[in-house]
Assembly symmetry: C2
Homo-oligomer: 399 residues x 2
């Protein structure tokens, strides 16, 4: 190994090119540190390869990457927040940060970040679903989130494709969505414009010298040295060799299947989250006519196959809410592996190994939390101090 040519060292080396690793890299470069991101298939670069080669490249982007598959819905409220005010504050901070984060990113990257703040409509289809809407309303209104109660006919006015049977709605005009494929592509471009490196390579081992993390070994034997090493490899974070026992908590994969349909003109005007007799489905439109429908939630380990049952479930729920989707073109059905910790909360910050940090465990809300997570990590990397907002999410909570 000693004869292998090594990569240039960086102050910060980040393992993982999903939205969390890339957001961390871009914010850290903004604070003047040198950064290298390591990923065999960085999420944004994968999107670019796909765009270049059509369907051809789809088998070659990283299977199971949560950032590549995510729909990118950005609701203010979320059932994950209800029981945890620290997570709620983190989500609200990320929500407040999204507009300036993406505007600044677009200026850096020269690419669209795919952010849309054009309204999010929550729909209750059945009687039982109306109660859930009321729970959401009662939760988010006191937080200062702008939200209006809608009658069925007001819902149909906003989105004429809705089934006439819908019962009621909630409209959040200041929420919306982001296209994770555009966002990650913009992050890769922003990183490279600021002088950072996105290395298309597989990291296999964290190098520890004495008790300090000093770099990362790649699959081909090369070494990337760094003063601080951030593991942001989602559910693959624990698979790196060289990490002392107990330093990285369990981050298990939770599979989510997502369906992509397509029409010439957008089928929906804005993002819809629907409750259909107690089951949830969300539909995120893109300006180019893509309609992203999510998502299943399955504990199946690292299996990334997509199933007939998941497909049938999404189609059934979506077409109950929006009967007209039957005419849309089928475009893609794929699965992402959401990195999920035992307490289902993110892991952000320093471990007990000096120089080794974590940024993962965002489960279903990694896209929502990307701006604030990147910013928190950048602050920790640049100053050594975690902001108050991040206190509950320290990796040390598991030891």
């Amino acid at each position: 190994m000693s004869e292998t040519q090594n990569e240039a060292p960086a102050q910060v080396v980040i393992v993982g090119g999903g939205v969390i690793g890339l957001a961390t890299a871009w914010r850290t470069l903004g604070r003047g540190l040198t950064v290298t991101v390591i990923d065999p298939f960085p999420a944004g670069a994968g999107a670019q390869a796909r765009a270049d080669a059509g369907a051809a490249a789809s088998a070659e982007v990283g299977a199971g990457q949560a950032s590549r598959v995510a729909a990118g819905m950005l609701p203010a409220g979320n059932e994950m927040m209800y029981d945890n005010s620290d997570l709620m504050n983190l989500c609200l901070a990320s929500r407040a940060f999204y507009p300036s984060f993406t505007a600044e990113l677009e200026a850096d990257a020269g690419l669209p970040a795919g952010y849309r703040r054009d309204g999010l409509l929550e729909i209750a289809y059945g009687d039982v679903d109306v109660a859930v809407l009321n729970r959401i309303l009662n939760f988010v209104e006191p937080l200062g989130v702008k939200v209006e109660q809608l009658t069925a006919s007001q819902c149909l006015e906003l989105e004429p494709e809705l089934a006439p049977e819908v019962q009621a709605g909630l409209y959040a005009p200041e929420d919306g969505s982001v296209d994770p494929r555009q966002l990650t592509a913009a992050l890769v471009a922003g990183i490279e414009r600021l002088g950072g490196t996105v290395l298309r390579a597989s990291a296999t081992e964290v190098l520890i010298d004495g008790d300090r993390a000093t770099g990362v070994r790649l699959a081909d034997g090369r070494v990337v040295s760094g003063e601080q090493i951030v593991l942001a490899a989602g559910c693959w974070t624990n698979q790196l060799k060289g990490i002392p026992a107990g330093v990285v908590p369990e981050v298990r994969p939770v599979k989510g299947e997502v369906l992509r349909l397509r029409s010439e003109r957008p089928f929906l005007r804005r993002t819809i989250r629907g409750l259909v007799d107690g089951s949830s489905v969300y539909l995120v439109p893109r300006a180019d006519g893509e309609l992203v429908i999510g998502a299943t939630y399955l504990d199946r380990g690292y299996d990334t196959t997509v199933t007939a049952g998941g497909l049938a479930q999404l189609l059934r729920r979506a077409s109950t809410l929006l009967p007209g989707i039957g005419d849309l073109e089928f475009a893609e059905f794929s699965a992402g592996l959401r990195p999920t910790t035992v307490d289902e909360l993110p892991v952000l910050g320093a471990t007990r190994v000096p120089g080794l940090l974590l940024a993962t465990g965002h489960s279903r809300i990694g896209i929502q939390l990307a701006p604030i997570s990147g910013d928190i990590m950048a602050q920790i990397l640049a100053t050594g101090e975690a902001p108050e907002l991040a206190a509950s999410f320290s990796p040390l909570r598991f030891s």
Copy 2:
């Protein structure tokens, strides 16, 4: 154009590398004539390219090719036969020919032809469907087709994955299926082994000298001369330039969407055709674990997009009959364009232009009719005489 290098002439030039063109070519070579098949994406070669390159090549095989998409169910009876005894006789002749046709092909090609004569199970799910089963029984039994009536529990014994609600079944132990991708790959190999040429090129024009067809012009200007020209280009047959008006009947595309699922071990033991409250669905298993589910039937011109509605329909019908398919992996959803004439019957034989023949219009039963169609065309090409069996299918019936 005159400076362009031309292809070697052949006695028979066939435009179209679907199952009908390829079967015609292989049988004609067997009669000692020289043959060139022209197709930008010959069906079997497409399958090979896909196998070589994984999903990558799927966008590059001919979009809409009926032979590439077809499931390959080979039932003895078919609603298309009921009103037409000539079509019925053609179907029965092809059915009788399948075993020796595929055995001989495998010997020539050195590749499996994918033929399975391991039983076909017709299932009635609802009360109304039992009447249809009886109609099938009353139709095929007098023709000498071996068929047994089954109770619901006998059906479940044969195929344990069937829903317990099924009402009754018909079992045809001497019927089965063929894998059209294997069959066409074997035909391409068989043609090349017998000295035929499969030219990966687009034919654009039929060349007429005086009143006689003399060859075909390719998109790049090259010419392939032949003594007899067979148009077997499915629903693209009328799109060739140079054909005098009224010689080629209308052959319109009828879109069929087909779903492919996958499991490690075959989910079904044999082909099932199910009637679900008046709607039909069929499921054809392959030895490698693929399960092919067909098919929608849509008059949408040359549009080859696949729709959410078609997908939902096939999934709904199939999972009503076989609830366990939800666990199977989603593999492919694609559409073929079935070449369909005004009277919905095949067109086989000589036109009124000397040297110009047709072999197309097989609509939904091209895979079933491929052996007999290839054989009929070979006889006509070699002897100038059409067998009695083909009399009703002459292109001259339209003029």
